[in-house]
Amino acid sequence: MAAAQDGDRRAYETLLRQTLPYIRTVVRGLNATPDRVEEVVQEVLLTVHRVRHTYDPARPFRPWLAAIARRRAIDALRRRRRTETHEIFDEAAYETFADPEANRHQERPASAAGLSAAVADLPAQQREAVRLLKLRGLSLAEASAESGTSIAALKVNVHRAIKTLRKRLTGD
């Protein structure tokens, strides 16, 4: 890690690859649902990257890594509990009418020009999240690496952006 802090990219890549199984073990131990494990593992990797300047080479590496992995896994667990308490995912709720053709009418206000203007009016962080995730189609991990924003923050920003856009374009 000390070499990685000094900018040795090869050492950094080797270190991250070697620690991947350990991170997965820690995350699996704290995060009950297997479908979320990979998402949390990526959040851990991004956090390690963001806080790599806090590692003190005079101290052991594993407790530093384990603390980050545990913290991110617990954050994910809390986030999921909060979401499950307040929200229900119902894909059918987005459909206004059973016939897909009929929904086109509802979608018409989101014309290209109107949508661009509405996106341009969004607060900077929400606009950036929409640009990376929805317009450029990047994955959460890619968008996070490019923008330096955490996955959790990107999710919140894109969720708020869509809520704002829906309100503005449909008047709901």
Binding site: A4, Q5, D6, G7, R9, R10, Y12, E13, L16, R17, L20, E38, V41, Q42, L45, L46, T47, H49, R50, V51, R52, H53, T54, Y55, D56, P57, R59, P63, W64, A67, I68, R71, R72, Q125, S139, A141, E142, A145, T149, S150, A152, A153, L154, V156, N157
Partner: protein
Amino acid sequence: MADAERLIEMLAAEARPVRRLRPPGLRAALWLGAAGAAIALAIALFSDLHLFMARVQNERLVWEMTGMLLTGILAVVTAFYLSLPDRSPLWALLPLPPLALWLATTGYSCYSHWFTDGWVPGSSWDCLKFIIGVSVPLAGSLLYLLHRAAPLAPVRVAAVGGLGVAAIAAFTLQFFHPFDVTFLDLGTQVAASALVVLATAGYERLALARGVR
């Protein structure tokens, strides 16, 4: 699995050299030194030290100020340690003994003033303004430095840092409050300090909710 591998490649490709943080004890000492120098200068220029010296003959006040100062120093040191990923959360216990001393001596004073003076307004409003006024620049500079560690539990770190700042502000107030305090004054000092802790932690909570970090 492939996503994590791809992410590692991306992170490694953009990994520039980083400047390691200095040891937390040293960073805390530097901040405390700078804050202490600014406060000492303000006390030398603007406070009435003769009146303060007369007031400090009271042993109870000496204990109270010792509690405030130690709470301030230890809470700031704790905040710097807690801001790092691999330091034990037990560090948060460090400022508790002097905090207990501060609250106990202030509580005792409140109790005695209630019987001697009763509900006398004193200069509570000025105490509140002073503590908040001193805390804002101190908290701002402290949070700026604590953020450099990108703490994993920022609200907890900010709350402990806020406690340190509030205690230092309450300590400084004693030099500018060279008259007998009332029940309300003492209560206000503790309430203003609690307000500073809540505001600092609340600011962090809000920053997180807005996705600033």
